[in-house]
């Protein structure tokens, strides 16, 4: 019953996906939450909601990182989304 190896990724891909999920996922989750907080007029409420929603989002992003076919691709996507969120936060804060 253990998972079949042919579907699992190589060492390098795995390292990429783990870092993408843990580090990229964290920064993207925080940036996304902040973006929401600057876009809608309830900044403090959204920031406080982050106390739990950031962790949920982070975990989901960790899982999605593993589901991706390429570790480079998922790093790219997370980095791009992080930049978009950051720019919006920068201009609307």
């Amino acid at each position: 019953m253990p998972a079949k190896n042919e579907y699992l990724s190589t060492k390098r891909q795995r390292a990429l996906k783990i870092t993408a999920g843990l580090i990229g996922g964290y920064f993207l989750a925080v940036a996304f939450q902040m973006m929401i907080s600057v876009l809608i007029p309830y900044r403090i409420e959204v920031i406080l909601t982050g106390a739990f929603s950031i962790f949920m989002l982070w975990v989901v992003l960790m899982i999605t990182a593993f589901l991706a076919r390429s570790g480079w691709m998922i790093w790219g996507i997370y980095l791009f989304c992080f930049l978009v969120c950051s720019i919006i936060v920068f201009f609307f804060k």
Binding site: M1, P2, K4, Y7, V30, L48, G50, A51, F52, F55
Partner: protein
């Protein structure tokens, strides 16, 4: 009814990350849930661990008098610094005071804590007891220096990871799995069913704990970026905006006064107006200055949004901010809401008991997951070395996890057995951790999982039954005497240990019989 499942590739990946994350955090998570389950009742068994507090609450307590008494006994006690008073409850009929000492300018602040026993009117500076505190700190690995808290935070985060991937794996058949429990089939089938069914039953509970636990230990990861981006790195400013009810401004050069109103005269009208609320703690700033403030935190422990606070000016009793239940908005309710979910303080004792059982279900899910991991690898494609590794890992995890049960019972015994010793807390904790280690090592010599389980049930049973006996011998409060005195918190603790001890011994005995039959049928 079938739902749309994952594709073969995604299923295998999800399965793999679920297994790896689960097996890595398993025993740490077991310790967290086991110790945490007892911590839920920390206040309820407080009188058990501290015989000096086994008295009922007398007349109303005068907090001003307590502060003056402290000042008399210890003139360097600083009445102008922040003072927190944890007020008395029926569970723990004593008052705890956390304050500061006067230090010359530029020196680091010095804390001063003391406990006041209202029945005798005496103070006690030392921490006298430790069971609740030890279990509480154990459940976030506070005994591991520096990294313990982060470690437990990441265990919680990866627990969320394991829970969500687990749901993804079973998504397709989630409706049939709900009532798929059966004790038939091979060991692997039994552990699989148990793991899935109990995992599903406890799902909301487990996900809630994973997220709130991660918040408590890793909240700095959420707060730091906010402080950095929105407040230019000024933490104080951030706290004032985010938690305005907790930060009350005072000025440094406010004049000293003796005309401030009495704390009890300020509290009485609030208590009378909200008689369903109970006082939790008081925070006093500038007690002897003109701009002094009193923040009273009150709580109705029977409703979810029942906590709140009110801030009053000490000079004239003016209400500075009113965040009592019913007046709070969403922003003031998020963090208290997390606390209420995590500490189960919104539905009385019944809710705590439900939480306790759900926590044990979770422990069971963790253990069955480990056993399932091993049984699923009991196949020809694995060589002997790999199989030995799977076996010894499982035995090691079981030993660490199951030995916690007798160790906690020993902790309770030790608290009363070395009752009046110097360095009491140190000795009790040493006994607990040393015995936990010894018990773990003993379990490693067991040959099978069943033998190890039986051993720990037997040892745990004996130590548990010893708890009410130790209490009876040391304090003369035997179960029936506590009951007659009406001290149900002490009696309840004793009955719990007696019952769980007898139950464990019974199960251990049953297991023995079953094994004998097997061996008899073999020969």
């Amino acid at each position: 009814m079938k739902l749309k499942g994952l594709s073969v590739r995604l299923y295998n990946i999800t399965f793999h990350i679920h297994t790896v994350s689960g097996i890595v955090i398993s025993f740490a998570l077991y310790v967290i849930f086991f110790a945490g389950a007892f911590t839920l009742f920390k206040d309820e068994f407080y009188q058990w661990e501290n015989p000096a507090s086994r008295q009922s609450l007398g007349k109303a307590i005068d907090y001003d008098e307590i502060l003056y008494k402290i000042k008399q006994l210890n003139p360097s006690f600083d009445l102008s610094e922040d003072i927190t008073i944890r007020t008395e409850t029926t569970q723990a009929p004593l008052v705890q005071i956390y304050g500061h000492l006067i230090v010359s300018k530029g020196r680091p602040e010095q804390h001063y804590n003391t406990t006041y026993y209202p029945q005798t009117g005496t103070f006690s500076k030392d921490e006298k007891t430790t069971v609740g505190e030890t279990l509480y700190r154990l459940h976030f690995f506070d005994h591991i220096p520096l990294i313990g808290r982060f470690l437990s935070g990441f265990v919680a985060l990866f627990f969320a990871f394991a829970v969500i991937t687990g749901v993804m794996i079973h998504w397709q058949n989630i409706f049939t799995k709900f009532n798929g429990f059966s004790l038939k089939g091979s060991l692997k089938n039994i552990w699989t069913n148990a793991h899935t069914v109990f995992g599903l039953l406890g799902l909301p509970f487990q996900l809630m704990y994973a997220i709130t636990g991660a918040y408590y230990m890793l909240s700095f990861l959420v707060l730091l970026p906010v402080v950095f981006v929105f407040f230019g790195g000024n933490q104080q400013k951030a706290l004032q905006v985010i938690l305005p009810d907790r930060v009350l401004a005072t000025t440094k050069d406010a004049l000293v006064t003796t005309k401030n109103l009495k704390i009890s005269s300020l509290l009485d009208p609030i208590k009378n107006e909200h008689n369903n609320l109970k006082l939790q703690y008081l925070q006093i700033k500038h007690y002897d200055r003109e701009d002094g403030t009193l923040l009273a935190a009150l709580d109705n422990t029977k409703t979810f949004a029942g906590s709140g606070s009110v801030a009053i000016a000490l000079r004239d009793g003016r209400i500075l901010s009113d965040n009592l239940p019913g007046k709070k908005g969403y922003a003031q309710s998020v963090l208290p809401g997390i606390a209420r979910l995590h500490f189960a303080t919104f539905g009385g004792l019944t809710l705590k008991i439900i939480y306790f059982f759900l926590a044990f279900f979770t422990c069971f899910v963790i253990i069955s997951g480990v056993l399932l991991w091993k049984e699923a690898r009991n196949k020809k494609i694995y060589n002997d070395k790999q199989k030995r590794f799977h076996h010894s890992t499982t035995m090691c995890y079981l030993a660490i996890s199951f030995s916690l049960f007798p160790a906690v019972a020993i902790l309770f015994n030790a608290e009363l057995l070395v009752h009046n010793m110097e360095n009491h807390v140190f000795w009790v904790q040493t006994i607990f951790f040393v015995f936990w280690l010894i018990l773990t090592i003993v379990g490693l010599f067991a040959s099978t999982e069943a033998a190890s389980t039986r051993l720990y049930l037997f040892l745990g049973g004996l130590c548990s039954v010893a708890v009410p006996i130790t209490n009876g011998i040391v304090t003369d409060d035997w179960i029936w005497i506590s009951c007659a005195k009406g001290n149900y918190y002490v009696a309840g603790t004793d009955v719990f240990w007696l019952f769980s001890g007898l139950l464990s011994l019974l199960i251990a005995a049953k297991m023995k019989l079953k094994d004998k039959k097997v061996t008899e049928s073999l020969f």
